[in-house]
Amino acid sequence: MSAQTKQFCTFFLEGHYFGVPVQQVQEVLRYQEMTEVPLVSSVVRGLINLRGQIITAVDLRRQLGMTDRPEKQKPMNVIMRTADGAFSLLVDEIGDVIEVEDNTFEPPPDTLQGMAKGMLRGVHKLPNRLLLILDSERTAKLSDAEA
């Protein structure tokens, strides 16, 4: 009898391995052209036309206080589904959908500083690396507060 498991959609940011619950992900898209939005927080990189629906793209690197990705590296979109409509997280690279066991989970370390702390729900200890689990509600919200 195996332990309870959860599925995560994973992606990479500055070499870190992140995951969001797969149920919250609507779809994953390659780089999309964006329309910049003046006057808002720099975390918002622009608006995407997703089959007639207008979606705000949030740069997760900026959101987590990381350095901007190099100019020529085009971000990918992880379209998240929330109660207030969809939004997109811009990430460096998309990983697999993986299944992890609940008992590998641990809350974020207390030493974690800065913006990332509020947005991490916790960490799954995988055999060879750590999977950082994002609180997707918070990632959508924080950008709002900052704007």
């Binding site: 329309t35 939005v37 003046p38 006057l39 808002v40 036309n49 207008i54 949030v58 207030d84 704007a147």
Partner: protein
């Protein structure tokens, strides 16, 4: 409604129909109260309650049936003229409607009528019904005043007016007879019999379906825009023709689908007579509600959005606006207050006005209250105009009612109203005249979904500007810009037909290229979009003006919603996203219009101080006369600046005139005007000689073009011919030599030169006198 079996569907239809009936019933009841003899209204009320009773009996809602039944019995006696409607009865009948409504919503939610006890209501209704069996010729007031002895002498005169009503009853009866006669035999048949002819040509459609259709049409419009772009670039003939057809069909489809969602505003207003009556009764006031333009149509979503704000304002008007009867009598007004709802189309928008003839808003008290609450400072209050003060009512936490009633006065109202109206792209404005009443005026867009918009480019970004706020487009040629765009204390202005138009640079407002300043852009042509925000105009400077397009408004994500500069976004023909500018938000950002709401007190005080400094200054038009004298005219008095060819000048009635906008514009010359009191009337013939072409007059060789400053007085225009227009300046004016001469206020130093300040009122007065004299001469 949750399961879709046949029974449920019947119940669902019953609910919808009954809600409609109840709405109408309430309205008719209130009408009936003010016109007790309106037999048609009575008959229709009776029919409606009867239909409800019939159907719920059939569906097995016993409690509902019982309540409806006693209501119906009372109504039937009223209809037969055996009783006469009293306010108490109206109240009881309205309560019946309430009870029915509650049961209906309980049925909707739980499938049954709910636990309730309507014994009291039933008893009241029954008592009223049997309170006094007034036989037909008897007077009307009695049913309630049972027990009081009749005073024949007093009542006699009342019998006569009652008669026509009775006749009317008799006359109407056959019409409603059908409904009554069958009622006891076959109640089931009624819903069918009661349904109007309309049901055959109309069907009920789920709003969700309409919404979906609307969205699809929106997508179709976008696809159409894209296809049209391709066809135009490909230039294939067959494709072009097909594209045209697609274009037409899409437009028609869009209009059609839009129409399905249109509803007359009267649907919302239906509830108001009842509300007004309830509130008025509660406050001990007498209020009559009048409605104009109830057929004005609006999109359903907009109707939904304005429903609550409207209701709030109506309650407010009755509760705060209209005075008590005693106070009204003392003020010399009719005891009954009047509340007028008016709706009409204007310029692609719907205007809704709610006006009362009450006491108006006491600006002083409002200011005092605002100070007490710390919303504004005392100095600010002093500087506030009445118009500004009145708009304080939109400030959160401010209510003018002295006493907080359970109706309104908690101060959470008007700011919410304003927010809600602005959310859908509308505006609210209040004007009030002390003692005469208050008017709340709303401008609401017809629809939210698809709007015509102007597409502009600024700093490589594309933006859509809703066409409703668009006034005109201006283009200043390269090189022209630096001379035509002037600065007033650092802010740029452009003279648009003699009026200063404040300019707002879109790229700067959006912080797109902060390093670029006006000087760098001066070599390029300047595109100005003249916009209207509230009651101000301003020019928006953009890089490029592209085209007008029908755009589909899409909401913004919550991350961006807080930026008031954007109203939404849309998808352009090339599939890219463009932001829609919120003109009012932009104007507020650029400080073109005041924003009492969000300013902090400190900032406000700052601004007010600045404003005061500005107010002491005056904007003046500087002119120069032939001999080099400089004169100034306050810009506020000037209607327009015009240029006329000299040969356009004609003479009429011993005066120079030109034809101007289909009217005759009398011209005056400064020299002539001032000369008259300096040198007597001799100048006049002189001036005449000048214009007749000899060119040897005092003015010397006149230029081919005449510069004319046009003033407006009432319906009339007067033109003042000046030698040269120098400049428009904003200066603090200190009159150094108050003049005793007519025509001149005095002299002041403007731009380091002595300048005479012309007395324009005098000029206009003189023009009128002259006209009279001229008329006399001719006679």
């Amino acid at each position: 409604m949750m399961e879709s079996n046949g029974d449920n569907q019947i119940v669902q239809e019953f609910l919808i129909e009954s809600y409609e009936n109840l709405d109408n019933l309430e309205r008719e009841l209130v009408t009936l109260e003010s016109h007790p003899d309106d037999m048609k209204a009575l008959a229709s009320i009776f029919r409606m309650i009867h239909t409800i009773k019939g159907t719920c009996g059939f569906l097995g809602f016993g409690k509902l049936e019982k309540v409806a039944h006693v209501g119906e019995s009372l109504l039937s006696r009223l209809r037969d003229g055996e009783l006469k409607l009293t306010p108490e009865m109206t109240t009881a009948l309205l309560k019946t409607a309430d009870a029915i409504r509650q049961m209906l919503s309980s049925i909707e939610a739980n499938g049954n009528e709910g636990e309730r006890n309507d014994q009291e209501l039933i008893a009241t209704l029954t008592r009223m019904q049997y309170a006094k069996n007034v036989t037909p010729p008897n007077p009307p007031e009695l049913p309630i005043a049972a027990g009081k002895p009749l005073d024949e002498g007093l009542l006699e005169p009342e019998v006569t007016p009652e008669d026509p009503a009775r006749n009317a009853t008799a006359y109407v009866e056959p019409a409603s007879d059908h409904a009554v006669a069958t009622s006891s035999i076959e109640p089931v048949a009624h819903p069918v019999a009661g349904k109007s002819q309309a049901s055959e040509s109309t069907i009920r459609v789920d709003v969700g379906l309409l919404d979906k259709l609307m969205n699809l049409v929106g997508e179709l419009v976008l696809a159409r825009n894209q296809i049209l772009q391709f066809t135009n670039s490909l230039g294939h003939n067959g494709l072009l023709a097909t594209g045209q057809r697609l274009n037409l069909i899409t437009t028609e489809l869009q209009e059609g689908v839009m129409k399905t969602r249109m509803q007359p505003i009267g649907n919302v207003w239906t509830k108001f007579p009842r509300t007004v009556r309830d509130v008025a009764t509660h406050c001990g006031k007498l209020v009559r509600i009048e409605m104009e333009g109830r057929e004005t149509e609006l999109d359903k979503t907009i109707i939904e959005a304005i429903k609550d704000p409207l209701m709030h304002m109506v309650r407010n008007a009755v509760d705060h606006g209209v005075e008590r009867p005693e106070a009204r009598r003392a003020a010399g007004k009719a005891e009954e207050g009047r509340l007028l709802l008016r709706a009409y189309h204007e310029g692609g928008q719907v205007n809704i006005e709610i006006s009362d003839d009450g006491a108006g808003i006491d600006c002083a008290r409002l200011r005092a209250k605002a100070i007490k609450r710390g919303l504004i400072t005392a100095e600010q209050a002093e500087r506030m105009s009445d118009r500004e003060s009145v708009n304080l009512i939109f400030h959160p936490g401010l209510s003018t009612a002295e006493q907080i009633s359970n109706v309104s006065g908690r101060g959470v109202g008007m700011d919410v109203v304003r927010t809600n109206i602005e959310k859908i792209g509308g505006t609210v404005d209040v004007s009030s005249a002390p003692g005469l009443g208050t008017t709340v005026r709303m401008k609401i867009p017809l629809t939210l979904a698809i709007i015509p918009a102007l597409i502009v480019t600024s700093a490589r970004g594309r933006y859509a500007i809703p066409q409703v706020s668009l006034l005109e487009l201006l283009r200043l040629k390269a090189g022209e810009a630096s001379s035509k765009i002037e600065q007033v204390q650092g802010s740029h202005v452009y003279r648009l037909r003699g009026r200063l138009l404040p300019l707002v640079y879109l790229d700067r407002e959006l912080k797109r290229c902060p390093e670029k300043d006006g000087a760098a852009g001066a070599h390029k042509a300047v595109n100005i979009v003249v916009l209207q925000a509230d009651d101000r105009q301003f020019g928006l400077v953009v890089d490029e003006i592209n085209d007008t397009e029908e755009i589909v408004v899409k909401p913004l994500g919550k991350q961006i919603k807080s930026v008031s500069t954007f109203a939404g976004a849309t998808i352009m023909g090339d599939g890219k996203v463009a932001l829609i500018l919120d003109v009012l938000g932009l104007a507020q950002r650029a400080h073109v219009v005041g924003e009492v709401r969000e300013r902090s007190a400190v900032e406000d005080a700052d601004r007010a101080a600045k404003k005061e400094a500005e107010q002491a200054r005056q904007t003046l038009l500087l002119i120069q006369e032939a001999h080099g004298e400089r004169m100034a005219i306050p810009l506020s008095l000037i209607a327009r600046l015009e240029e006329f060819n000299r040969d356009a000048v004609e003479r009429a009635g011993g005066q120079e005139v030109v034809q101007y906008r289909g009217h005759i514009l009398p011209l005056m010359r400064i020299a002539e005007y001032l000369g008259k009191h300096r040198n007597g009337s001799a100048v006049k013939s002189h001036a005449a000689a000048t214009t007749t072409g000899s060119g040897s007059g005092t003015a010397g060789a006149e230029p081919e073009k005449l510069q004319v400053v046009v003033f407006r007085q009432g319906e009339k225009n007067v033109g003042l011919v000046v030698h040269r227009i120098l400049d428009i300046v904003e200066e603090k004016i200190v009159l150094e030599h108050p003049s005793h001469d007519e025509g001149i206020h005095g002299s002041a130093v403007v731009q380091n030169k002595v300048t005479d300040l012309l007395d324009i009122e005098d000029l206009l007065q003189r023009e009128m006198d002259e006209e009279l004299v001229g008329a006399g001469d001719r006679r």
